[in-house]
Amino acid sequence: MKTPYDALSATRSTIEEILAKILFIKKESRNRAELRELFTQASVAFLNLRQINRVILQEEDHVKQETEAAKLPVDHTTLQLNNLLYEKSHYLKAISACKDFKSKYPDIELVPVEEFYKEAPDEFQKDSTLRDDPHKEMLERLNFELYQRKELCKQQELLEARKKMLQESIAARRKFLSSLPSHLKTLKKASLPVQQQLGILHTKRMKQHHLADLLPPPLYILYTQLSALKEAFNENIELEIIGSIKDAQALVKQQALKESGLNHGGNEENKIEEEIPEEEEELQRRRKRVKKSHAKESSDEGVYHSHPLTVVWHIFDEVVDGGKRTKLLSVRFEYLMRLNMVCAGVEGDRHGPLELLTNLFPDDTGMELPTQAAKLSAGVEFQYDVNRSCHPYKWAQHLAGVDFLSEVPPLVSEGHGPSEFSKATSIRHGLSAYRKQHRVQTVLEKLRSRKKAHLALRGQLDTLSNSKLPHCVYIEVPWGPYKSKCFLHSWAEVLRTGLPKPPASLDDAPSLNMVSSSAEGLEISPVNGLESLREDGELPSAAMMLTPASKVPKFSSLMQKKLYSVKERSHAKRVPFTQAKEAFTMLNNDASVDFKDLGALDDDDDMILEFAGSPMDNTNADDIEESTNFEKVSAWEECGSRTFNAVFRGEDSETGKIIDLEAQVKIFSEHPVRPPYFELRQLTDEVTPSLPSPPRGVLTVTEKAYDMPPSSLLAFSDLRAMEKEVNSGIIQLLPTSHENEILAQQLSMLAMLFDAYVDSRLRSCDQHHPPLSVGATGTTNVHELTARSIRGRDRQMQLC
C-alpha cells in the first residue's frame, strides 16, 4: 500500500512538473492552450495534495490516541517496581545491621578451653555434645566465668574489710607514736642531770649537730672540720654553736623562699617549725643576753650584719693531768653575710683579741678585708671597725673554706641540678685540699702555742714589771749559768703615743724626761713603780738623790722639747698609715690630737737635727727615725706589738760608777716566732775614756768644733753587736721547746753581754786612768795571757 507520505511526495512532484511546464510555456509564450490544461491538472494535484494532508493528520490523531491508552499501564508498573526496590534495600540494611551486631563475649577474658575442661564441674566434662557444639560450649564457658567472678568479688570484699580493720589499728598506733616524743623528751629532761653527773654530753652534742644544719656554709665547714679534728685525733677541744635559733630558721626560710618559690618554702617552714623542740626555748632564754648584744652589733651597720649563729671553739691544753683540763682560750667565729667572710675573735677577752690573734700568720692583721669581693661589696672607703671583737683574719677564711666556697651562694639548698652537682664537686675538691693542707691542725697548733706563749710572756712581763729578770728554765746556753753583775733598773711599757709609762724612779734619760712635759695623756702604773722601788731597796727620794744633779742641765729644756717633738713627729708620721691600729689601743682621743698637732709643727727633719745640737741626740733621733722607716715598710708586723723600755744598770766594781743601758724592747704579735726586737742605747757616761790633753807647744790642737758628745763607754758598734746577738743570734741557740721564754733568755743574754762589754771596755780604758793604773798592771798581764777579747775592724767582742 501506498503510504500517504509517498502519495504526498508524488503529488508534490507532479505539481512541480506542471509548474515547470507552465513556466516554460510562459517564457516561450507559445501555446497558450496547453496552459489551460495544465491549470486544471495543477488544480487537481492541489486537491489531491489537500486530501492526502488531511489523511495524514487523521492518522496522526489516531496514533496519539493509541499511545495515550498504552501509557497508563506502563506508569503503574513502574511505581510497583520502585516500591519493590525500596523494600529490598531496607531489608538489606537490616540484615547488615544484624550482621554487624557485636557480642560482649569475645572481649571477656575467658579461661582457656583446656583450663575450662580441667576445672569445670564434671557434668560438663562428660557432656560430649559440648565439644561438638562450639556455641554451647561458649555458653557454658561464659556461665562458668560468671560464677568464678562472683566468687572473687566476695573474696575482695572480705579483704577490704580486713584492710580497713588494719588501717584503724595503724592509726591507733600512730597516735601513740606521735605522743611518744614528748614522753621521750620528758625522759631526756629527766636524764640531763644524770648526763651532767656522768660527763656524757650526748644531748648537748645532738642539739649542736642539729644547730649545725642551720649554719651558713663557711661556718658549717668550720664546724664540721673542727669537730672532725676533735673526733679523729681526740684533740682537747670543744665546740659550741650559740645564737638565736629562731633567727637562723627565719633566715633559712627566707633563703628557701627566695630559691624555690612559695610552695616549697611553705613546706620547709612547716617542717622546720615542727623540728623546734620546746627545750630550745629554754636555751634561748639562757642565751638572751648573748642575743641582745648580737642584736646591738648587727643593727648598727648593714655591712656588719652577721649570721645569728656563731661557733665558739674552746681550746684546752694538750696535756691532761689528772683528768682536769686547763682551758687556754675560746675563739668565736661569726659570719658576716653581706661580705661573705668569717670573723674570729677571742671570747670574753675584749682587751686584747688583736694581740692574740693578730698575725697568727704573717701579714694577717685582721684590719683589712681579706677578699677582693668583700672589699668591693663594702665599698672603697670602708675601714673595718677596730673596736669590734671579731676580725676578718685570713686564716679564719681559710679555716672556713671561704676560698673555695666563694662561688657558692650562702645556704646551698639540697638540689640535684647540674649546677648544684658541680658546686658539690668543687666543694669536695676544696675540702680534700683543705684536709691535705692540715689547716685545722695548723691553726690549732698555732693558737695553742700562741696562747701559751702569751701566758708565758705575761708571766715574764709580770716579773719584769717588778724590775726583776724573769727566771730561765733552759740553761744549756752560754749565759744560762751566768750570774749577771748588772741588774734591771727599770721596766716600763711605752704606750702607742710614744711616751713611756712613768718608770719607778726618775732617771736622767732624755726619753724618760719627756714624761714630765706631757704627763696628761698617760696611763700611770703607780703600783708597778712602787713595787720596783721596793725591789731596788731604795726609797723614791733616795733614787732621785742618787741621780746626779749635774746631769740635769745637760739636757736643756729646749732640747728636751725638741727631742720630744722629734719623737712625737716620728710617731705622728705613722698616724695616717696606721690610724686604725693606733685608735685601737688609743686610750683617749685627746692624746692622739695632741701629738698630731705637735707633728704638724715640725716638718723638716734636718732642721730639728741641727737644732738639737748634741750629736748624741742625733743618734737618738736617728734610731727613732730608722724604726719609723721600718714601720712604714712593713706595718703589718707592727700591728699589735708592744714596746717596753728597759734600763739595765751595771756598776764598775772598783769605782762604784754607774753605767746604764737602755733597751727598747718591741714585742711583736707574732711572739715568739718573731722574737722581741731590742734597740740599745747607753744612757749614762760616767766612765768615759777621756784623753789627757797633749803637751802644749808641741802641737796645735783644734778647738772642738761642736759640743763634744759624751763619748760613751760602749761604742756604737758594741751596741749594734749586742743587738745583733740578742735579736738574731739567740734564735739558733734556743731550742724550739723553750722558745716561749725567749724574752727572758734575751734579757739574761743581754745582761751577760752588757757585763762582758762593760768589763772589756773598762779594762781597755783602765790603763790610762791614773787612779786605776795600780790595779791595772795586774789585769794587763792577765789580758796578755788570755786570748784576745776583741777582733776585727769594728772591735767586736769575742764571745764564746
Binding site: 700568720f361 704573717p362 685570713k394 686564716w395 681559710h398 693542707q437 692540715h438 689547716r439 695548723t442 691553726v443 698555732k446 727633719d605 734636718d606 750629736p615 742625733n618 743618734t619 736617728d622 734610731d623 730608722e626 722607716n629 716566732v673 775614756p689 777621756s690 784623753l691 797633749p694 803637751p695 808641741v698 802641737l699 796645735t700 790642737v701 783644734t702 772642738k704 768644733a705 761642736y706 763634744m708 758628745p709 763619748s711 761604742a715 756604737f716 758598734s717 749594734r720 743587738e723 745583733k724 735579736n727 738574731s728 734564735i731 739558733q732 780604758c765 783602765d766 790603763q767 790610762h768 793604773s773 786570748a787 784576745r788 776583741i790 777582733r791 776585727g792 775592724r793 769594728d794 772591735r795
Partner: protein, 373 residues
C-alpha cells in the same frame, strides 16, 4: 731562696720552720755592715765587702737608674741585688782593694778567716764565670792564707783575721792581721816575703808609702808604726794618743788607732784614734802637726785633694783642712760608717752599718744610696 721569699705565708701549707729561717735572715740582713766599698777600675761597679763575708759587685748605672727622686738619704734607700757575688769569706770580709791598673787589675779581699782572696779583674770584666754559671759563687783565682802563730807549748793560736790590706804598684800586697803582724805578700809567688813584727796588739789598718818603700800600720795598742819594706825594720813609732814620736811601744793601753791614710804627695799622714780625734803627722819629720777633734770615733779616714775626710760612729762625713778647720759636714746614710774611699773626681763612697752604701758627689749631694742585699 728567692722563691721562698715570694712564698705566700698563710695557713695553707704552713711551714713554720721555713718562716723562722726567713725571719732570721731578715734580721741578719738588717744588721749587716759593709766594711769596705770601693769603685772598680772600670768605674762601672762598686765592690763591697760586708759582715756576712760576701764580696759583691754592684752596678752603679743600675743604681742610678733606679734611684728615686727623693734625695733624702734616710728615706731613699733602695735595696740593690748584687750584680755579682764572689765566694764568701768565713766570717766577715773586712777590706777590699784593687791592685794594679786597668787590665792587670786584681780585686783583693780579706776577712775574718785570715785569707786574702784575689780575682783577676780581666776575667770578671770578660764575664768568664764558668764557675758562676752553675749556681755556685765564683771561686777566687788565688787565696793567700795568713800564717798561724805558735802559742804556748807549740800549740797553734787561732787564725788571726786580716783587718786591712794595702797595695803598692810593685807587685806587693800588705796585710794587717789580728796577730799584730803585718805581712808583705808577693803576688806572683803567692808567698810572704816580709813580716813586720813589733806591735803589741792587733792591727786595724795599713797603708803603703811606695815612694819611700815604706808601709804604715795602725794598731789596737795605740801606736802607728812606719816600717821599711826592705829591711822589715821599724823606722818610727808614733804614739797617736800623745801625738809624739816614741822610741818604743808605750806601756799601758792607749786608744786604738782605727785608721791611717797618707796624701798623694806621700808627705802627710793622718791617723784616727779611738779617742775621738784625728792626728795629722808630717812624714818628713815624723812630727804631729794637728790634732782634730771629731764628733765620734773615727773609723775611716782618707786624704783627697788636700782635704782630710773622715767618717765614724755617727752618720756624718766630715772634711777638714790640714789646719783642722772644718770644711763641711755631710749627713750620710749609714748610722755608723766603716769605710770611706775618695776619688780624684771628687766622688766619695762611704759604707757602713745597715748594709748601706752611700755615693756622695764632690758637693755633698747623694748620687746614690743603696742597701746591699
Amino acid at each position: 731562696m728567692a722563691s721562698k721569699c715570694q712564698q705566700k705565708w698563710d695557713v695553707r701549707n704552713w711551714d713554720e720552720a721555713a718562716y723562722k729561717v726567713r725571719l732570721q735572715a731578715d734580721r741578719e740582713e738588717s744588721t749587716r755592715i759593709v766594711y769596705a766599698a770601693r769603685l772598680a777600675p772600670s768605674s762601672d761597679f762598686v765592690a763591697t765587702a760586708s759582715s756576712n763575708g760576701s764580696v759583691c759587685l754592684y752596678s752603679v748605672a743600675s743604681c742610678l737608674a733606679s734611684q728615686s727622686m727623693d734625695l733624702n738619704p734616710k728615706t731613699a734607700q733602695l735595696e740593690m741585688e748584687p750584680f755579682l757575688s764572689f765566694s764568701r769569706h768565713d766570717g766577715a770580709a773586712y777590706d777590699l782593694q784593687f791592685y794594679g791598673e786597668d787590665d792587670d787589675a786584681i780585686l783583693l779581699s780579706c776577712g775574718d778567716d785570715g785569707k786574702i782572696q784575689g780575682w783577676h779583674w780581666k776575667r770578671i770584666e770578660q764575664g768568664d764565670f764558668s764557675n758562676y754559671s752553675d749556681g755556685r759563687l765564683q771561686k777566687p783565682d788565688f787565696i793567700l792564707a795568713n800564717p798561724q802563730q805558735k802559742g804556748l807549748r807549740g800549740a797553734l793560736a787561732p787564725v788571726p783575721e786580716i783587718n786591712a790590706i794595702a797595695t803598692d804598684s810593685q807587685g806587693y800586697v800588705f796585710s794587717a792581721t789580728g796577730s799584730g803582724h803585718a805581712y808583705c805578700w808577693d803576688l806572683e809567688r803567692e808567698k810572704i816575703i816580709t813580716t813586720f813584727e813589733g806591735h803589741s796588739d792587733y792591727l786595724h789598718c795599713i797603708c803603703s808609702r811606695p815612694s819611700q818603700k815604706q808601709v804604715i800600720t795602725g794598731s789596737e795598742d795605740g801606736t802607728v808604726r812606719i816600717w821599711d819594706c826592705r829591711t822589715a825594720e821599724t823606722i818610727a813609732i808614733l804614739d797617736a794618743h800623745k801625738a809624739a814620736k816614741v822610741t818604743k811601744s808605750p806601756k799601758g793601753k792607749l786608744p786604738w788607732v782605727s785608721c791611717v791614710a797618707i796624701d798623694s804627695s806621700q808627705k802627710w799622714l793622718v791617723c784616727g784614734t779611738g779617742g775621738n780625734c784625728l792626728t795629722l803627722w808630717s812624714l818628713l819629720s815624723f812630727d804631729a802637726v794637728t790634732r782634730i777633734c771629731t764628733v765620734s770615733t773615727p773609723q775611716a779616714v782618707t786624704i783627697e785633694n788636700s782635704k782630710i775626710m773622715t767618717v765614724g760612729a755617727l752618720p756624718y762625713l766630715s772634711c777638714f783642712t790640714y789646719n783642722g778647720d772644718v770644711i763641711s759636714r755631710i749627713r750620710i746614710a749609714p748610722s755608723s760608717a766603716l769605710s770611706i774611699s775618695a776619688y780624684s773626681s771628687g766622688v766619695c763612697i762611704v759604707s757602713g752599718y745597715g748594709g748601706l752604701v752611700d755615693i756622695i758627689s764632690e758637693f755633698g749631694s747623694h748620687i746614690s744610696t743603696f742597701r746591699c742585699k
